[in-house]
């Protein structure tokens, strides 16, 4: 465990960039390093963090999951409806996870068993999930979510929001699964060379099905958490997140080709984007200039990270 963690902290070239940005923003904005801002930053990015971990797993496998963002939406809506109906947060959580898991399972079966292309398949399930979210909610936020959810969203331990802790717990579990189980090893190997994995007797299909399922499950958890952070279950909550999720994963250094990258990197990628957006806001930079700066920094950050890691080797 310790070893896995230390391994994941090493070879993380994004880290210096992240630290530099962090220090820079702290120096230039008096509001950046305040508990209020940090809390907001952590809370707002918990959903993205969980979903990005799912996307990381899929990327490592050499696939892509475009549906993950709408899985967030649809599971939030179903969870909200269940909570409104039963008044129980636990049932809501179960509902969110089972919705996510089932969408993921469908993805997995279509891709792993039938051999359909991940891009189009997940795009299709994305559309279907989005449609279902709208049909169920009629397009508006689900009414009657228990206040307990919002309290959960406000809860902090030593300044760290409970939702962030939940996200980190999920991250840790996935990290363990990926680095310390044969399943995780198989994911990496299949991503590295699918044929070779088949020739080595790895059950490629089952691993593919399971990875997409896990990705869906994580989308479900993210959907549930989104209710806590937003106070309501909203049908379109995840829809705008897709590019941010992909951006965070790739920024961390996990490639779409598969077999290369790690969850630790994705955490840093999410962190980098979060700090970047928050810092630019606090500096009072107009929205459109923020876009430009964001783009430049994403580019330079990745480039620098690549240089640094090249030097290390």
């Amino acid at each position: 465990m310790i070893k896995a963690l230390s391994e994941s902290v090493q070879t993380r070239p994004v880290a210096p960039v992240l630290i530099a940005l962090f220090i820079g923003f702290s120096l230039f904005s008096p509001y950046f390093l305040t508990t209020g801002n940090m809390e907001a930053l952590l809370t707002a990015n918990s959903v993205v963090l969980i979903a990005s971990v799912g996307m990381t797993l899929v990327f490592l496998l050499g696939g892509i999951d475009l549906s993950i963002s709408t899985v967030i939406s649809v599971s939030a809506v179903v969870s909200g409806l269940v909570m409104a109906g039963t008044g129980s947060i636990w049932w809501g959580a179960m509902a969110a996870m089972s919705v996510g898991l089932s969408v993921g399972l469908v993805n997995g079966l279509l891709i792993g068993l039938l051999g359909l292309t991940p891009f189009i398949t997940t795009m299709a399930t994305q559309l279907i999930a989005r449609g279902v979210a709208f049909v169920l909610s009629k397009g508006i936020a689900v009414q009657g979510t228990p206040y307990g959810m919002l309290d959960f969203g406000f809860l902090t331990f030593h300044g760290i929001p409970a939702v962030t802790l939940t996200a980190l717990l999920v991250v840790a579990v996935c990290m363990l699964l990926l680095t310390l189980t044969d399943w995780g090893r198989h994911v990496m190997l299949i991503g590295s060379n699918r044929n070779a994995a088949r020739y080595s007797g790895i059950n490629v299909r089952w691993v593919e099905v399971s990875v997409y399922s896990v990705s869906g499950l994580l989308g479900g958890i993210a959907g549930f958490i989104s209710i806590a952070t937003l106070g309501n279950a909203i049908p379109g909550v995840g829809d705008t997140l897709l590019l941010i999720i992909i951006g965070a994963v790739v920024l961390g250094g996990t490639t779409m080709e598969g077999g290369e990258g790690s969850i630790g990197r994705t955490v840093l990628g999410v962190g980098l984007l979060a700090v970047l957006i928050s810092g630019l806001n606090l500096l009072g930079i107009p929205f459109y200039d923020q876009l430009i700066i964001q783009g430049l920094l994403i580019f330079l950050g990745t480039w620098l990270a690549m240089k640094l890691s090249a030097r290390r080797h």
Partner: protein, 503 residues
């Protein structure tokens, strides 16, 4: 293309390369004259391919000079000076046709109008020149390994005008095609082409080369005219010690029980394959390039759709799949190591343990973590003689032969009962090859049944108790050890000789 034979075409001075501080090629120097063939020999990882890459401009030397016709060549432009190469890992494009692959370096026609007709002609001509019957319109991915190697050679020949470097060009070729290639090299030599020939087959070195250079750990330890240098001497120079003869496997006792029985196996490229292997027996399978040996092995291993029956240890396999085979301790070492074998961007450790990772799962604590994986893989890696700084380097950075050893290590480590090896020693150096042959013998003596598919007939003669010959997808003959005769085997495989010899 007549050149001045008195002046070197290519001069290399103190060529040096290090990868992040590790010296891989340490100051080699030589001259290459028109019409000369230099054999570059050395163990796996000695730095042969790295030298080749520097010569044809794929790698930038850390130090040293390359001169063509007395003029210094800037790095990265060797190709512009007429240096071309057959790469050890084929530099082909799977989804392009044979003709496109051959002509890609100089597409006929203009920039805006590729002349397909002409391309066809060129490719056909080249294939005829090589004496190969390959469809120029076939996509390269649909070809077998041997045919791909021919395409690669054809491609390099098309572009070579001064210097041709061949990096282990014959690893997938059988004796017949090898001889064809050598005759072509002879012709080129007469035309004044200078050739650098890299190979682990010393008989090939003696067949084609005039002089030699021996590399050991990147250092040029010897060189000069080949005439008068004995084979033993050359081996000793490469390995740094004298090699002993590998032990004769002798005959297998007839008492072994049947481990593998294949009956009437049919698939796309093979037909009506039936044979059996007993415990402790090594069966070799010979055949020409494209005879369908790989296909047969993959079909019986459940990697391709096929009909027919396969029995393992007497039990009929209802469902043929890799998982089912693995459960019965049947293993298959694929021929195409880059595409079907190795996880290139993963470390050696994971590559070695890939087929057996579940065995390392820690029993305590939620089954998290792999106990002893590092130690075990280190042991395998040492046993296989893989030279690497540490077990966590990516396989991609290994030399070709060492990659092959990693792959072989993965399967030998899984302690199989039935082992199917497809070109097991492809690219492996002589020292290691003897070790591998001995290992095969040991494993067989320990009771495993082994099928060896190889294009290297001496290897088959060395390790097998029995040899089956395949031609055009069918088994056409069988030889027991006391009937072994390379001429007969070759002629049967090529269908030039009498029909079905042995019984």
């Amino acid at each position: 293309m007549l050149q001045d034979k008195a002046h070197p075409l290519l001069s290399v001075r103190n060529l040096t390369k290090s990868f992040s501080g590790k010296l891989v090629v340490a100051g080699i120097s030589f001259d290459l004259y028109p019409g000369q063939v230099i054999g570059l020999v050395g163990e796996n990882g000695a730095g042969k391919s790295t030298s080749k890459n520097m010569l044809c401009g794929l790698l930038e030397p850390t130090d040293g000079q390359i001169l063509v016709n007395g003029q210094t060549v800037e790095s990265n432009e060797g190709h512009a000076h007429g240096i071309s190469a057959v790469h050890q890992e084929l530099s082909l494009f799977g989804s392009l046709t044979v003709a496109e692959n051959m002509c890609i370096g100089a597409l006929p026609g203009s920039r805006l109008r590729v002349d397909w007709q002409q391309m066809q002609c060129i490719a056909r001509e080249q294939l005829n020149f090589l004496g190969m019957d390959i469809d120029p319109d076939a996509a390269v991915f649909s070809l077998g390994a041997g045919q791909q190697q021919i395409v690669e050679i054809g491609k390099a020949l098309l572009h070579a005008d001064k210097v041709l470097i061949l990096d282990e060009p014959t690893t997938s070729l059988t004796a017949l095609e090898r001889e064809k290639l050598f005759r072509i090299l002879d012709k080129l030599k007469e035309r004044g082409m200078a050739i650098i020939f890299i190979s682990h087959f010393l008989e090939e070195i003696y067949r084609v080369c005039d002089s030699y250079i021996v590399l050991r750990d990147g250092h040029q330890v010897a060189g000069g005219a080949l005439a008068g240098v004995s084979r033993r001497k050359l081996e000793a120079l490469m390995v740094g010690r004298a090699l002993e003869e590998s032990a004769d496997h002798g005959d297998v006792s007839d008492t072994g029980t049947e481990a593998l029985r294949v009956e009437h196996l049919d698939s796309a490229d093979c037909r009506d394959i039936s044979f059996a292997v007993r415990h402790g027996e090594v069966v070799g399978i010979a055949g020409l390039m494209g005879a369908g040996r790989t296909e047969m092995a993959e079909a019986l291993f459940g990697l391709r759709p096929s009909t027919g029956s396969v029995h393992v240890q007497g039990a009929l396999l209802t469902e043929r799949s890799v998982a089912a085979m693995k459960a019965l301790d049947v293993c298959y070492l694929p021929e195409d190591r880059r595409n079907n074998g190795l996880f290139l961007n993963r470390p050696v450790r994971e590559n070695l343990s890939a087929a057996a990772i579940s065995r390392f799962i820690r029993r305590r604590l939620l089954k998290l973590g792999f106990a002893g994986e590092r130690l075990a893989t280190q042991t395998f890696s040492r046993a296989m003689g893989i030279s690497i700084p540490h077990i966590d380097v990516k396989v991609d950075a290994l030399s070709g032969g060492n990659q092959q050893k990693v792959l072989l290590g993965r399967w030998l480590a899984s302690e199989p009962k039935v082992l199917i090896l497809d070109e097991p020693t492809k690219g492996v150096d002589i020292g290691a090859k003897f070790d591998i042959h001995n290992r095969i013998g040991e494993i067989a003596r320990a009771g495993a049944a082994i099928v060896v598919i190889s294009s290297d007939l001496p290897e088959l003669l060395q390790v097998s108790h029995r040899i089956l010959v395949m031609r055009k997808g069918r088994i056409v003959g069988e030889f027991r050890r006391d009937q072994f005769d390379s001429v007969k085997i070759i002629s049967l495989a090529a269908s030039t000789g009498e029909e079905g010899l042995a019984t």
